[in-house]
Symmetry: C2
């Protein structure tokens, strides 16, 4: 089946035939219980689909398509790992296109460290998708996630793309199917939705993210896809995405490393009807704020779905002489395996917090150093306080808590999110065989 995505009529006709490739009963239940569309197909102008092409041996969905028939303005943030997947290399090129019509994603295979064959495979994924939709290969972005160092089974991928196209839908089911197709060790679908009013115009933003391990700055190991119908210039869209990621995904560490494949894409269809945002105006600020909120919502979902995680926490470092020091100290705590184990055990082992801060090498005053668990001060001016250990244990045993550290040398602050480290994390990652 060939569809010209530039023809709205054909797309509408096509929509009538939509069906779901997965568990039909499950999907119907999902669609019935969803009060409104929270998925990436919620903003005007987007279709989603997912299909089980067989890349994953489990038979779970592994091929996703996200399509904007009118063409979207696109922005992206990629991994800063020096070894990047073929998908990242190709998408970086294709982002130079004025409009992006589709994103094709596979899970179960990262197509990273796969040399020239891998690069050709990523290009082929774009070309195949473009061919089905009647657009140029350069107008399609591509992302992959899964095991590193194995060539993609291109027969399966080719067939999968062909079979996913007829499933494209702007229904919640289409968005959910796309979200499910990008999952790997995630135990649940993670999506978030925000709306905002720009004057009288309702603007919608929706995002779905995968990522449960290999999560560390800069940027969680992540494929993040955000759709919006806001009308906005390409440069401001990029600026808004960068700001949102910096304050959300780039503040989460699960195991301190970023993968070869990390990709955050933001597609704006421009169909909401707002006067296009072309400068750092009030509408830009409102949009940016909603976007950051949406990304922060997803970060919470990621932390709590991190491999084996049962709890998350926020480390706030204040009293720092530089912002960089505040980030560094906060990350040192959030990344510290011994502290993460203590949180898993519900143990208020603040000594490990102080140890991590001291080990991070930031400027601090040992005689002014203080630490709070939520609002309970456990360490003040370099000495332990007489706090109630039962209260401290209750705080650390919550689903989320905040650690606040005062370095005692300045006025700057920053933060980091982290999660506990459990035996389950080890099990997942030791049993995952190549």
């Amino acid at each position: 089946m060939k569809i010209d995505v530039r023809s709205q009529k054909k797309i509408r006709t096509f929509r009538g035939k939509l069906k779901w490739s997965g568990d039909l009963d499950e999907m119907r239940r999902d669609e019935m219980t969803v009060m409104r569309n929270d998925s990436v197909t919620a903003p005007k102008g987007f279709l989603g689909a997912g299909f089980a092409s067989g890349v994953k041996a489990s038979g779970k969905p592994d091929l996703g398509l996200l399509v904007c028939p009118t063409g979207a303005t696109a922005a992206a943030v990629f991994t800063t790992n020096k070894i990047v997947s073929a998908g990242v290399q190709v998408s970086r090129e294709h982002l130079k296109s004025r409009r992006v019509y589709a994103v094709v994603v596979n899970s179960g295979n990262a197509n990273a460290c796969t040399g020239k064959t891998g690069l050709a495979d990523a290009r082929k994924m774009c070309a195949l998708t473009a061919g089905h939709l009647g657009v140029e290969p350069g107008e399609v972005l591509v992302a992959s996630t899964g095991i590193i160092g194995h060539h993609l089974p291109m027969e399966k991928v080719t067939r999968g793309i062909a079979q996913a196209v007829p499933l494209l839908s702007d229904s919640p089911g289409g968005g959910l199917a796309f979200g499910q197709a990008i999952m790997t060790t995630d135990t649940r679908l993670k999506q978030a939705y925000r709306e905002l009013k720009l004057g009288r115009t309702l603007v919608k933003i929706a995002g779905t993210v995968k990522g449960a391990g290999m999560i560390g700055p800069n940027m969680a190991t992540t494929l993040l896809f955000i759709t919006t119908d806001v009308a906005i210039s390409k440069s401001l869209l990029g600026k808004a995405l960068k700001e949102a990621i910096d304050n959300s995904l780039n503040r989460l560490t699960v195991d301190g490393h970023q993968s070869t494949n990390d990709t955050a894409l933001l597609l704006a269809s421009g169909l909401a009807g707002n006067p296009p945002i072309n400068g750092p105006s009030r509408p830009y600020q409102l949009f940016q704020k909603a976007l950051t909120e949406l990304c922060t919502d997803l970060v919470h979902q990621m932390a709590l779905d991190a491999e084996g995680a049962t709890r998350m926490f926020r480390v706030v470092v204040k009293g720092a002489s530089t912002k960089a020091d505040a980030v560094k100290a906060a990350r040192a705590v959030a990344d510290y395996p011994l502290f993460k184990c203590a949180v898993h055990g519900g143990d208020p082992n603040w000594g490990r917090i102080i140890c991590a801060v001291g080990s991070s090498g930031v400027n601090l005053n040992p005689d002014k150093l203080s630490c709070k668990l939520d609002d309970l001060c456990v360490f003040r001016n370099g000495a332990p306080t007489a706090f109630d250990p039962k209260k401290a244990a209750r705080i650390v045993s919550q689903r989320e808590h905040t650690i606040t550290i005062d370095l005692g040398v300045g006025k700057l602050r920053d933060f980091y999110y982290g999660c506990d480290l459990s035996a389950e994390y080890v099990r997942i990652n030791a049993d995952y065989h190549t």
Copy 2:
């Protein structure tokens, strides 16, 4: 009982009364099976003792004394953590003394983050020990290891020191008792012994180390005590220790952090009879080499006794443009939880190695990047090879294996040791309650 350590006669008299505070049967077996003295009392001029003072609730030995009655030349390397224990602060001061007569150590309590009270307690430990031995408090060093942020139970420590003094012995039992008293989560006593000939003179070096978790550069979480009878100047002793630590303990990471208490002490009694080493001569080089070998031996023992560890590995990075890059990349792999989990599972997941190297930010050529597991090349010039996965799994499942990564941009190399990450590590550190 008061002993003047400067009087050899009294010490000899005193030695006749030695007895062991722990399990006598166990100790007798140990002494019988030990063919020669491998403990810190092996070099001429050292006495050791250990005692269960009650700092540890378990009733295990927790107070150690190491004494050099003739006075030793001393050198030390301390943690670079900005928050240091009271013991580290006091020992740094006391190292300025010309001679050191004793080291007093407690385990079960780190005396770190304990403010002015903690500092006074550390000074008191030196003063008490000095009082018993008839030396100055400034001629005694002190170290502590255990939980952070709790005040030392000084009544127990005071009584413990008094009761350990009469147990001082130059027998293997004395050295073993000292080694056992410094252990925390270590599952076995770790000690190493080397001897070398300088001309016709036999020189002995022995070391004992504690450390199983909280091990990361720069310097393993470690209390390391090395004794030697070599005659050497203080400045060269310090230089030799620094070089040895840089190439051994500072190349081991268990969980990437250094503690508030890390201390490596090297005491030289000078009683071997060699012409004193006063310059970077051949004898210095021989001594330095033997010292590095001894520390490397201890590093292997530490890695294999790391909390929950079942395997260790060595990451060699070559083809780097700077030595710093080689260290950074090697450490990134050795520290990477996902890779450590894969090693635990015996899985040759080389993708995680490449991911960690790329994530480390070092200068590399993606098209020249290569990786070997022992002598099996799994990744060459940026693409996977057709290696035998069973052979790769056998290599990774060994007790020790070597990963060699070629960055393809230069001629420099360095290395790092690491160990696997197991569910047991989490259990130990989540169940360890404050």
